[in-house]
Symmetry: C2
Subunit: 176 residues, 2 copies
């Protein structure tokens, strides 16, 4: 495999194979329910059908022709400059190699370019989400709210906020 | 006007005149922007077009043939029993007569009947929303989170939560 094929490429424009890629990526982790995976597929399908009219923005990370990670985000309606990160997920066998950091940095850059000032991220307080919470904490996201039993009894919602327009390291990934 | 015509009636099924009623009710208060009113109209129109498939539940309060107040609410996707109250608003000249309390009590009853256990309400921290925040506080809603500058600089988001399935006074309003 050439060096070029090995390099990571980031792209915003979805392909028809992306709903399946998203299902594979989420399914490779054990965190997500069938219902959550269905919702994520639908977001991607909505973006493919609606094009740039969709309220969902996507970012995919490809290497060697394979899609290994994705993020989905959008501006919060009726706010001046707040955005939500709906999903960020990395194929399980490719975790721990900085793919999530690269995606998050590029998401931040894209949102900043559209005038965004705050990125909110909702996640679970369950023990099996500890790595996820640690990921956000180590990427300068502040824990700003907790909602006990929000998702289900014993499954709290934890909200992080990343203040944008601050200097941050940006990955070299190219966006199509 | 007969006593019957004076009595308050609550109904869940929307009418074709309701988008205009919602616009009139929100416009009578000075709190809401043109964009917020447009979004509220669209929720009601979505419910009329989609029928019970819509994710939005509506409740209107009519008296003497006039629609004086409304509420819009829905279950939070991917949660076991959490619900959002998107809107509750009373025609300005009819405020202070318990209409909001009657609507909120009925919304709670309807959500409880569908297994809901928690009702979340997002509102603004701006000084002109002080009456709104006091309304929720006086209806056993707890302030559970605050997001500085969420809507705009100086315009915080304040989140209240009302725990359901507790005894509460329910208004006598009838729901069609």
């Amino acid at each position: 495999m050439s060096a070029k094929a090995d390099s990571l490429r980031l792209r915003s424009t979805p392909r028809s194979s992306d709903p399946d890629s998203v299902e594979r990526i989420l399914g490779s982790n054990r965190l997500f329910s069938a219902e959550e995976i269905t919702v994520a597929r639908e977001l991607v399908e909505d973006r493919i059908v609606e094009g740039s009219r969709s309220e969902y923005h996507l970012l995919f990370a490809d290497r060697g022709g394979e899609t290994l990670a994705f993020a989905c985000f959008g501006s919060v309606p009726l706010t001046r400059s707040s955005w939500d990160l709906y999903w960020i997920a990395v194929e399980h066998s490719h975790r721990g190699r900085g793919l999530g950091s690269r995606l998050l940095a590029k998401v931040e850059t894209l949102i900043e370019a559209r005038g965004g000032e705050r990125l909110y991220i909702e996640t679970s307080g369950r023990p099996d989400y500890e790595d996820t919470r640690r990921f956000y904490e180590s990427h300068r996201c502040q824990r700003v709210a907790e909602y006990p039993d929000f998702y289900a009894p014993g499954d709290d919602k934890v909200v992080f906020m990343r203040r944008l327009r601050e200097p941050h390291a940006e990955g070299p990934g190219r966006v199509d």
